[in-house]
């Protein structure tokens, strides 16, 4: 698995766009919307190498924070200028409202690409990049508000261990969110999807990234991955409550959510 990602790191984003015809951006947006993070949230994004989820999270939190500040300003109609100035100073330096995201990935190359992207896009605050294994996270217990793993969990050898680790590092009340390819139950769509996956994707892989085998592996790993209900049970086994899933695009992708209560 490591070598697959070493070779695809640089072309990862381009391949994502071409494979999913750009829809993956929408999927990731939906994930963040479902999370609905408030400022002050501490997010752990596992297997989030190139930072897609992290950047979206920061954008979302920033806009929520802006709205919050605007509302505060409206309430300030009766304060003196001095008071307004002081609170403005305090808030201005806190545009993210203390929100932070830690991007954790097992692959150094992916993290490198992510860091470069962050610099390029101008994300400086609230980001950390940590090398780590989803089955054995280098973090203390009860640390994070939200744990996300987008298109990463199918690459983990022992999913149950990753889920247990997720449970461990989340604070009580914390949320587990998993965005992953899943099972299409509609038979017609399923045929088309299979056709697309096995015929088109490896070809794209060869053409764009010069790597047929990695994308062949990708498609096969998607097929091998447990379907929605099974994954839901695995998440419940790890100790999460209120576990639920939401199918996107008829089950091509699903978002699973659980809470540590």
């Amino acid at each position: 698995v490591y070598q697959v990602f070493e070779s695809v790191a640089k072309k990862y984003d381009v391949m994502n766009d071409s494979m999913t015809l750009g829809i993956h951006r929408v999927w990731k947006d939906i994930l963040i919307h479902k999370m609905n993070p408030s400022p002050g949230t501490l997010l752990l994004d596992v297997a989030g190498g190139t930072g897609d989820i992290a950047f979206r999270f920061i954008n979302y939190v920033r806009s929520v924070r802006e709205r919050q500040l605007q509302r505060k300003l409206k309430h300030h109609q009766n304060l003196s200028w001095q008071e307004i100035f002081e609170s403005y100073q305090k808030d201005r330096l806190n545009l993210l409202g203390d929100s932070q995201v830690v991007v954790c990935d097992i692959n150094r190359e992916m993290l490198k690409v992510g860091k470069q992207k962050a610099q390029h896009l101008g994300y400086s605050e609230g980001l950390s990049w940590v090398l780590g294994n989803a089955e054995e996270l280098p973090f203390d217990d009860d640390k994070f508000d939200v744990y996300t793993i987008a298109f990463g969990i199918r690459n983990v050898t022992r999913i149950d261990l990753a889920l247990q680790e997720a449970y461990r590092v989340l604070k009580p009340g914390g949320r587990f969110l998993c965005l992953e390819f899943s099972h299409v139950s509609n038979p017609v769509l399923s045929r088309l999807y299979d056709l697309y996956s096995f015929q088109v994707i490896p070809v794209l892989g060869e053409v764009i990234a010069g790597d047929w085998k990695s994308y062949q592996y990708l498609v096969e790993s998607i097929r091998r991955f447990p379907p929605q209900e099974e994954l839901k049970e695995m998440i419940e086994d790890a100790g999460f409550f209120k576990v639920d899933y939401e199918n996107l695009n008829f089950g091509i992708v699903a978002i699973h959510s659980g809470f540590k209560l």
């Binding site: 993070p37 408030s38 247990q164 009340g173 914390g174 409550f241 209120k242 209560l261």
Partner: protein
């Protein structure tokens, strides 16, 4: 310590933490082992404190699954109740719920348990207010039964009941219009309507009015109308202690009472008219 060896014994960590917080009135780090016993656990289960681990285990095995489920709902209730404190500042939103969760020692992500538009928070509040009203009316009724208070005439009773219920809105009055609009969303209408009708039914039940001037449906409709219009008036009222609203309420209730009298008058007049006509018909036929 991992409790993975005991999957059937897993407890709600958070509810244990919550009771710790509420019992001791201070935040304790969750990984520190505690030696306290808590006897009156609000959820009704008795976790045994283990000195080495923060996770209590159930002493009772019976109804394990149902206890967990019950605790989840109760936890949600607690979060919503805690969130009410933040409504004046944040409105009926997920943010208020997040702040509420924080005060209970939970992560802000727990707000994700609920819908992002705050519907559940509002419905929870309405249902709590209705419960409070019922309790109030129940107590009043007991006093009357014990002879310690006089039974109020219907119009005064209705006035007091509606006023008491509407007064519960006062701390949240600024954000109440927002709440009303959310309650009117198609998705929420079944719940909000049923809460409203059960509250109105409750008031009539305690009013104990045996008069046959109104039938049951009219009574419900009339009081619902009074309640809703008074609520709207209250939202626009800027008089001290809402005295304009209570005067409006008084007038509406008085109207309703007169209407009932008029109705019965109309009925008896109608009967008289019919009898007169019958008499006239008989006379004419003779």
């Amino acid at each position: 310590l991992r409790c993975q060896h005991y999957p059937p014994l897993r407890a709600l960590q958070a509810s244990a933490a919550l009771s710790r917080v509420s019992d001791e009135h201070k935040k304790e780090p969750l990984t520190s082992p505690s030696q306290q016993q808590f006897d009156s656990h609000p959820d009704g289960h008795q976790p045994k404190q283990e000195p080495q681990g923060p996770r209590p285990s159930y002493t009772g095995q019976g109804g394990q699954e149902s206890e967990d489920y019950e605790s989840e709902e109760q936890l949600q209730h607690r979060i919503l109740t805690a969130a009410l404190e933040f409504v004046p500042e944040h409105g009926w939103t997920a943010e208020a719920i997040a702040e509420g969760a924080k005060t209970l020692g939970l992560s802000v992500a727990a707000a994700g348990l609920f819908h992002s538009d705050g519907s559940e928070l509002i419905l929870h509040f309405v249902s709590e207010c209705n419960t409070k009203l019922s309790e109030l009316l129940e107590q009043e009724q007991k006093l009357v039964q014990l002879g310690e208070a006089e039974k109020k005439p219907t119009d005064e009773f209705l006035r007091n009941a509606v006023e008491a219920r509407l007064r519960m809105l006062i701390p949240y009055i600024e954000k109440w219009p927002q709440a009303l609009s959310i309650l009117l969303l198609p998705r929420n209408i079944p719940s909000s309507l049923s809460l409203l009708t059960s509250m109105i039914d409750d008031i009539w039940h305690y009013a104990g009015d045996q008069s046959t001037d109104f039938n049951w449906y009219t009574r419900r409709a009339v009081l619902t109308g009074i309640y809703n219009t008074t609520e709207l008036v209250m939202l626009q009222d800027s008089s001290p202690d809402f005295e304009d609203t209570w005067r409006f309420l008084e007038n509406r209730v008085a109207d309703a009472m007169t209407m009932s009298n008029t109705a019965s008058q109309v009925q008896s007049t109608g009967e008289a008219v019919v009898q007169g006509l019958m008499g006239a018909a008989v006379t004419v036929s003779n």
